[in-house]
């Protein structure tokens, strides 16, 4: 236990959200997507954000990645504040990998070309990175699909390619926006375990967005529960289940008590207005 405490003191947190707000003004109404949001994530941590659709979870990680500008508040990366007034520099963006809900593959490129596209854009098209890409492709069992077009590959393979594409430029942070939401349960459990092994081996920081309570408890060290209208943090739940996590844990009483507590937290918020 003391080893954990000692680590806390020295290192600067990897990611910090300080009083982040985001308001969308559309012709018909204004939506407060995120209100006074604070979060601290350490290097190598696995954090989940869960909550009903429309509670600003996806907006949060899109702000960190520079796709959306926050209305107010500050974000720090390795202790350095991010200048959100203009698009991020390539150095900053190279530290992060973004994984979308649908695979978001470009149908005119083969799976391998899709995976190595970030290298071309970031200007990292060196043999060393190409080799790293091939290694990732073989580790995740994608060699079979590497030279075929996305239309010929299965949903699971495409989603795996999406994860590999976000890691090919060796980012320090992975931002995952409900990556396995569209997959069936058996495949999701498989990809969850693969994600955990990649996370452990690369000691990478992960922010994982999901609707699925069970998935969040299985994967993360701590879970931020959000509510809608306005999108705000309701509670932070720390998961101290032992590592490495396994699928058998899902039916153990401590695991189930976590999922029950989280369902009640979200359930109570959700039933008031069925979206």
């Amino acid at each position: 236990m003391e080893e954990l405490v000692q680590k806390e003191v020295q290192t600067i947190p990897k990611i910090v959200f300080e009083n982040i707000n985001k308001v969308f003004h559309t012709r018909k109404q204004t939506i407060v997507a995120v209100k006074d949001y604070d979060m601290q994530v350490d290097q190598g941590d696995f954090v989940s954000i869960i909550g009903p659709s429309g509670c600003g979870k996806s907006t949060l990680i899109r702000m960190l990645n520079g796709i959306i500008q926050p209305t107010s508040g500050r974000m720090l990366l390795d202790g350095i504040p991010l200048d959100t007034s203009k698009p991020y520099s390539q150095e900053t963006l190279r530290k992060m990998g973004f994984i979308f809900q649908q695979p978001n593959m470009l149908p005119w490129y083969t799976i391998r070309q899709n995976i190595t596209l970030p290298l071309k854009i970031f200007g990292l098209d060196t043999p060393e990175y190409q080799e790293y890409a091939d290694e990732l492709i073989s580790v995740t069992g994608l060699q079979k699909f590497a030279d075929s077009y996305p239309i010929e590959a299965s949903g699971g393979a495409l989603q795996r390619a999406g994860v590999v594409r976000a890691m090919v430029h060796k980012p320090e942070i992975l931002l995952m926006d409900e990556p396995f939401g569209a997959l069936d349960e058996m495949l999701r459990e498989q990809l969850n375990m693969e994600l955990l092994s990649i996370w452990k081996r690369l000691n990478i920081t992960i922010i994982f967005i999901t609707h699925n309570v069970e998935e969040a408890v299985l994967l993360s060290n701590s879970i931020y529960v959000m509510a809608t209208e306005p999108g705000r943090l309701v509670e932070k739940v720390d998961i101290d289940l032992p590592r490495p996590r396994s699928l058998e844990m899902i039916t153990q009483p401590r695991f189930v008590s976590y999922t029950q507590r989280l369902v009640d937290l979200i359930g109570s918020v959700e039933l008031r207005q069925i979206k």
């Binding site: 659709s53 299965s154 393979a157 939401g181 609707h211």
Partner: protein
């Protein structure tokens, strides 16, 4: 597999293949699936995605003809294709709700009555009654593109109930929904089944849904699909609520189902 006399629907050795041997595109999808379904039962079919579960449902629902085998409804044998006039007694719920975007919620329900030529006040009354059953009585004149995914799915269910069919066939009704809406809709479906006492056959790839809803769960194998297991779910209706997730019997069944389904996956390296 022999026919049970009092079964509502019996499917005997149903096989299905697409393409033909000549052009070398022969792909067998179903390989001798047999099932006897009783009146008022909630049968669930569970299996990995892309294993022919939906095809089997479409054969039962009269959308596709079987390549071989027999379909019996109330004991009469209709061979490989359910005849058109009998479709009045079936209600089909599609995975992506499949609503007619140019008609309002009530309009989609009226579509069923129009095509089945069910006229008269009693039937028109059922339109708002069914929308009330799924909790959408306030959204009668709203168009599908203005509804959320969960609400569209519920209109799909109401549409499959409006002409008062005897059998409800559901193809992964919650497949495209997020986990929270999915769980709420599962319990609503259980309630609808309990209230209407319809015979329901549902396909899903979610183990929780299968246990909460089904009283019998059939596990399908990979392509070409055949029935690997038939597992009865003996949790009484009263206990099937939010608290059931932590009940030992539930967790035991869940482990059992997961074990069988993972077995179907490991036969072939991960998809």
């Amino acid at each position: 597999m022999e026919v049970q006399k009092d079964a509502r629907i019996s499917a005997i050795d149903i096989a299905k293949h697409f393409g033909d041997k000549a052009s070398g595109t022969l792909t067998p999808v179903l390989d001798g699936v047999s099932m006897n379904i009783q009146e008022g039962e909630f049968v669930v079919i569970l299996g990995p995605s892309g294993c022919g579960k939906s095809t089997f449902l479409k054969i039962l629902g009269g959308i596709l003809p079987a390549s071989s085998g027999k379909i019996l409804i109330d004991g009469t044998d209709y061979g490989t294709q359910v005849p058109r006039e009998l479709l009045k007694r079936f209600g089909f719920v599609f995975q992506n709700n499949n609503l007619l975007q140019w008609r309002t919620a009530a309009g989609n329900l009226k579509f069923m009555l129009e095509t089945m030529r069910l006229k008269g006040e009693a039937w028109q009354g059922r339109v708002s009654e069914m929308l009330e059953v799924v909790g959408l009585q306030d959204y009668q004149d709203v168009y599908p593109h203005e509804l959320s995914g969960g609400m569209r799915q519920r209109v799909g269910i109401a549409r499959a109930l409006v002409h008062d069919p005897d059998v409800l066939i559901m193809d992964q009704p919650m497949g495209a929904l997020d986990a929270i809406t999915r769980q709420m809709l599962t319990f609503e479906l259980l309630d609808i089944w309990h209230k209407t006492q319809k015979t329901i056959i549902m396909v899903t790839n979610n183990v929780n849904e299968a246990i909460i809803l089904g009283n019998r769960v059939f596990i399908f194998s990979q392509l070409p699909a055949k029935i690997l297991q038939e597992i009865p779910i003996d949790i009484p209706f009263e206990e099937r609520n939010h608290q059931v997730f932590s009940s030992p019997r539930f967790l035991e069944l869940r482990e059992k189902l997961n074990h069988h389904v993972r077995a179907t996956l490991s036969l072939e390296e991960p998809a």
